[in-house]
């Protein structure tokens, strides 16, 4: 979840809440869904929040939300926007993977070290979240004073920059944090920022590039030129965004513009001239959604009158008009910085938050249903209680295991025709070699528990009922999953008979016959291993573990072990 660091004094100032104590501020932020994680070394609040309200990625955005909460602001705010004479021309050669661009001109910014840092942080946070690591959208902010527009496109008053695509080595420019000219290709291999974002453009044939009359000044989404770097001396800015989706970059632009607007900057729109059509950005045309009054009451669970609902929506920064068609409803305007409103339910949630969900009185729903256990789970519990009753300590192991522990250390190969073999479900690029496949049987896990507990008192009688699975092309999910029952007895005197005696006791209590015809299995001593047959053919294995496997696991006592599928003993039980 996103985390932002916010200077509490700056927040108080922007939110008009100078007299609010730290403690109250933290509570008020919690009510907005911003969780206080602690103080940073610089005395800033570290706030964590869910990634829906991305307009709160900056101190300005959080301040705006607080202003609504404190009643300083009401209804929807649209920044006053003037026309500029700038056009973003989109060239035919623009990379096919990154066809969209948007932007704005921002004038009269009064940047301090703090507000500049806040702007840069907002930019980075938007890259991480909505921008999906700059893949989906990336922001470039430039000092307008360092740019020279190109000549007129349509009329003499207009000036332009051009978004295009170039060969990686076709152009040289001085990127940020560098002293020498580099080509885009060199940036990707030699510049630290370039190396970090090289994977974003790895599949692009042409590199995205934005030109003014003086040359290339932006290599989105990787890096800007040093020429147009924004400093505290910058008064006017040019903001450009490129990406894979127009809606996404327009919303990212809106969040940036609203943050600058709160600090008193003037926004000017620009024309974006695509080869086929022109648009004007930022576009403050509001989206509206219709919400039914009954839906609000149904979801929040209380009765509300019309005035209250209108008041709550105003407090949430929404514009609402009642409409009476077939029953009461509202036409609700949604400000452009909101990226999370996909459906009227999102407005209901805003109303609930403004009302205060914690003000609601819980009630147990008046819904009658009958509870029950799944039959498989009932049977599993019965078998587990029989196993513990005959003295097994119940284990709960991971379903993931290493290939070595599952196969090699048990002397079993995946394509052997024995119990426990099979093609394993395999994790792609596992973080840890200890957990790289889904176990094909549970006995290896139980052996690991024995291995890790040789310093503990014997006898160790351990059993587990858990999941195992193998790749199976005939299953809908291509995996045959099963609950499996594995047990071991490790003790100085343990022998085959001890294992079979306990297994037989379990079988008797389930009314299941137990036959154990001799079989060979690489994990077990030949002559002391048998197939488990509940009267329906061989389904499992029982025997004394081969000394080679014992030594492999650092064990110095004999171990008798068994394993069989839970479903097998269940169908045998049902059959009796």
């Amino acid at each position: 979840m996103p985390v932002v660091d916010v200077d509490p004094d700056e927040l108080r100032r922007l939110a008009g809440a100078e007299d609010v104590s730290d403690e109250t501020l933290i509570d008020d932020l919690f009510a907005l869904g911003l969780e206080f994680e602690g103080w940073t070394e610089d005395g800033a609040l570290e706030l964590e929040f869910a990634p829906d309200r991305l307009d709160r990625l900056s101190v300005e955005g959080i301040a705006r939300s607080l202003r609504y909460q404190y009643g300083h602001d009401r209804g929807m705010h649209i920044p006053r926007t003037n026309r500029s004479n700038w056009t973003f021309v989109v060239d035919q050669r623009v990379p096919a993977q990154r066809p969209y661009v948007t932007g704005a001109i921002v004038r009269d910014v009064d940047l301090t070290e703090e507000s500049l840092q806040s702007l840069i942080t907002l930019q980075e946070k938007l890259h991480e979240t909505m921008g999906r690591g700059r893949h989906k959208g990336a922001i470039g902010i430039h000092d307008l004073g360092m740019l020279k527009g190109r000549g007129a496109t349509e009329s003499a008053e207009r000036t332009s920059i051009t978004y295009t695509g170039i060969e990686p080595e076709a152009e040289r420019f001085v990127p940020l944090e560098a002293d020498a000219e580099m080509t885009p290709g060199e940036v990707l291999t030699d510049h630290p920022t370039g190396r970090e974002y090289a994977e974003v453009v790895a599949e692009y044939e042409l590199m995205p590039a934005i030109y003014d009359d003086l040359g290339l000044f932006s290599f989105p989404p990787v890096i800007n030129s040093r020429r147009t770097e924004v400093t505290t001396d910058s008064r006017n800015l040019l903001v450009e965004l490129t990406g894979t989706d127009q809606w996404t970059i327009d919303r990212m632009l809106a969040i940036v513009c609203y943050a600058l607007d709160l600090r008193g900057a003037e926004i000017e729109d620009v024309e974006v001239a695509y080869p086929e059509y022109d648009i004007v950005r930022p576009d403050w045309e509001q989206t509206t959604k219709q919400v039914e009054h009954a839906r609000i009451e149904r979801t929040i669970g209380i009765e509300l009158d019309r005035e209250t609902v209108l008041e709550l929506m105003a407090c949430a920064g929404l514009d609402a008009q009642p409409i009476d068609e077939n029953g009461l409803a509202y036409e609700v305007g949604i400000p452009p910085y909101r990226v999370d409103v996909l459906h009227p339910v999102d407005i209901v949630d805003d109303i609930g938050r403004a009302y205060g969900f914690n003000e609601l009185e819980p009630r147990y729903p008046d819904v009658a249903t009958v509870g029950s256990r799944h039959a498989n789970s009932r049977f599993e519990r019965a078998v587990r209680s029989l196993l513990t009753g005959v003295g097994f300590e119940d284990l709960l192991n991971f379903n993931l295991i290493s290939h070595t522990a599952n196969f090699e250390r048990m002397h079993v190969a995946p394509d052997d025709k024995v119990h426990g073999a099979g093609t394993p479900v395999t994790i792609e690029e596992p973080y840890s070699a200890e957990y790289e496949i889904v176990r094909t049987w549970a006995l290896p896990s139980v052996m690991l528990v024995l291995e890790n507990n040789t310093h503990r008192a014997y006898p160790q009688a351990l059993a587990e009922i858990g999941m195992a699975g193998v790749v199976d092309r005939d299953e809908p999910t291509k995996t045959a999953e099963r609950r499996t029952v594995a047990g071991v007895i490790a003790d100085h005197e343990a022998s085959y008979e001890d294992g079979k005696a306990r297994l037989a006791a379990v079988c008797r209590r389930l009314g299941v016959p137990l036959e154990t015809p001799a079989c060979e299995h690489p994990s077990f001593i030949t002559g002391r291993s048998a197939a488990i047959d509940f009267g329906m053919g061989a389904v499992g294995v029982i025997g004394e573990i081969d000394p080679a496997v014992l030594v492999e696991h650092g064990l110095e006592v004999p171990v008798v072990a068994f394993e069989f599928p839970l479903a097998a003993i269940r169908s045998a039980a049902a059959d009796q």
Partner: protein, 501 residues
């Protein structure tokens, strides 16, 4: 006075002497087990017939290495002997040759360094020259004396050296000495009447009727018994069973379903955009094998795709994100058990469901990340949902308040939250009983129309999920349950942990 036979034996033995005697010597004298004598003496003390006092003595004993040398000879002496046997008292002999003759149990380095220290001989240029024959070795003598427990004669400096060589240990021991009290002496003097007592209740005793006439030997019922290890349910499993019991009591029916499942059921049906960070290969448990599901309900896939692209309803809006059916078909280990809810709501698991319904599962989910103190790759997710014609946030809060009250958690906080598949959404917080820390204990909400409509559900469904391990921490007060689950579990933990109920 009437006494039991054992007491009589001990009383008579003690009556015959004035000086206190150690319990050990007494047991030896009476040829009885020390623990039996101790038990009897304590009963006499309780009856005021004897007094027991403890005396601490400093003593010496041999370490394992010390005993070995005591019986086999000090390594330097054995080396010396071997060297003399090879003629080293005449002229230097090759060290290698002598070492070859010695047994494997001799550490040559130890032998040589002590030989040199005692100036019995010296090595130069690989040859050993000895300077004494049959030396009187005070260390060897001391070992023999300590072994024979006649050590008081041994000099302190020799003991220090042997201790330095880790051959002896100074050990303090406590002996109990018993002597009769005045009352005790009078009782013995007045003559003892011995009652016949019986140790075991036998079939003969019961069938013959003799049990009516016997007295049973009193046991030391306060003594510690040998340790018994029985079978018992795993603590986390027991917690899971408890949760199941509570939910069944609240009218919930249990779900089950595949661990390996298509992303379609794990994420797409939950209106999780395909470019959501949780769906990147870093967080997903992507499988190298098997890779793709074949069977997916075509109509449902279309409806889900449409919801992602266009949203649902007149005023709906989709995600501005790519959607590929191929990705939806990719198989993975489920990141949450909400995939089971999706399969049930879609009618895949149990056919179409009509409201009202309540369903739950307490099953494993997988988290592809590095393991640390509080995060494991596998955890148990408690998943539950309620379907009804009309459900509100208050119903959701009432359900959780009821659920957590069963576990003694009464101070839940609801924090408005965001999930792609619920709105409104709440994180649930509870206070840890030991640390007083506010902990997240669950995530909940009312399923979004974009999730329900494609699944064919046209009523309200509220749902929640939480980690069983978290709940267990709250209930048991444990702060770290890292090694509970998995093959690193300490059997001692399973054998000693208090049960929750």
């Amino acid at each position: 006075m009437k006494v039991e036979p054992g007491q009589a034996t001990v009383l008579e033995a003690l009556g015959a002497r004035q000086e206190p005697i150690s319990l050990e010597s007494l047991a030896e004298q009476l040829e009885m087990k020390p623990e039996t004598v101790t038990g009897i003496v304590f009963t006499l003390e309780e009856d005021g017939l004897a007094t027991v006092d403890e005396r601490k003595t400093e003593g010496l004993c041999l370490t394992d290495e010390g005993s070995q040398y005591e019986s086999q000879g000090l390594p330097e002496l054995r080396l010396l002997e071997a060297a003399i046997g090879a003629g080293a008292d005449d002229e230097p002999v090759s060290l290698g040759g002598i070492v070859g003759q010695l047994g494997d149990d001799i550490d040559v380095d130890i032998a040589l360094s002590n030989l040199a220290r005692k100036e019995y001989g010296a090595v130069s240029a690989g040859e050993l020259r000895v300077s004494v024959v049959n030396p009187a070795d005070e260390e060897a003598d001391a070992l023999a004396e300590i072994a024979a427990e006649t050590s008081p004669g041994v000099e302190e400096s020799v003991i220090d050296r042997l201790e330095h060589r880790n051959l002896v240990e100074r050990r303090s021991r406590t002996d109990r000495y018993v002597t009769l009290t005045e009352t005790g002496r009078n009782v013995v003097a007045d003559g003892l009447e011995v009652t016949e007592t019986v140790d075991r209740v036998t079939p003969e005793l019961l069938t013959s009727g003799d049990w009516e006439d016997v007295e049973f030997t009193a046991y030391n019922v306060a003594a510690d018994p040998p340790r018994h290890i029985g079978g018992s349910e795993h603590p986390l499993r027991r917690m899971a069973e408890w949760v199941k019991d509570v939910l069944i009591g609240m009218g919930f029916e249990e779900m089950e379903g595949p661990h390996v499942d298509a992303d379609f059921w794990i994420n797409d049906c939950l209106f999780m955009p395909q470019d959501h960070p949780a769906r990147t290969h870093w967080d997903r448990f992507e499988l190298a094998e098997p890779a793709r599901i074949e069977e997916l309900p075509t109509d449902l896939v279309e409806r889900v795709e449409r919801a992602h692209r266009e949203g649902v309803g007149e005023h709906g809006e989709g995600y501005h994100a790519p959607w590929e059916e191929d990705f939806a078909r990719a198989l993975a280990l489920r990141g949450h058990t909400t995939s089971l809810s999706a399969r049930h709501l879609a009618g895949e698991a149990r056919g179409d469901l009509e409201p009202p319904q309540r369903f739950f599962s307490v099953e494993k989910a997988y988290r592809n990340d590095t393991i640390d103190a509080t995060h494991l790759l596998e955890f148990f997710q408690i998943e539950g949902w309620v379907m009804a014609e009309s459900l509100s946030v208050r119903d959701l809060m009432g359900t959780f308040t009821e659920f957590y009250e069963h576990f003694g958690i009464t101070d839940i906080e609801f924090k408005p939250h965001y999930n792609p598949y619920t709105e409104p959404s709440f994180e649930l917080f509870g206070v840890h009983p030991e640390t007083d820390e506010l902990m997240e204990i669950g995530n909940s909400g009312i399923f979004r129309p974009e999730m329900l409509e494609p699944l064919g559900v046209d009523c309200d469904v509220m749902a929640w999920g939480l980690a069983l391990e978290r709940l267990m921490m709250l209930v048991s007060g444990a702060e770290d349950i890292r090694d509970v689950h998995g093959t690193l579990v300490d059997l001692e933990y399973l054998r000693e942990t208090e049960v929750v109920y």
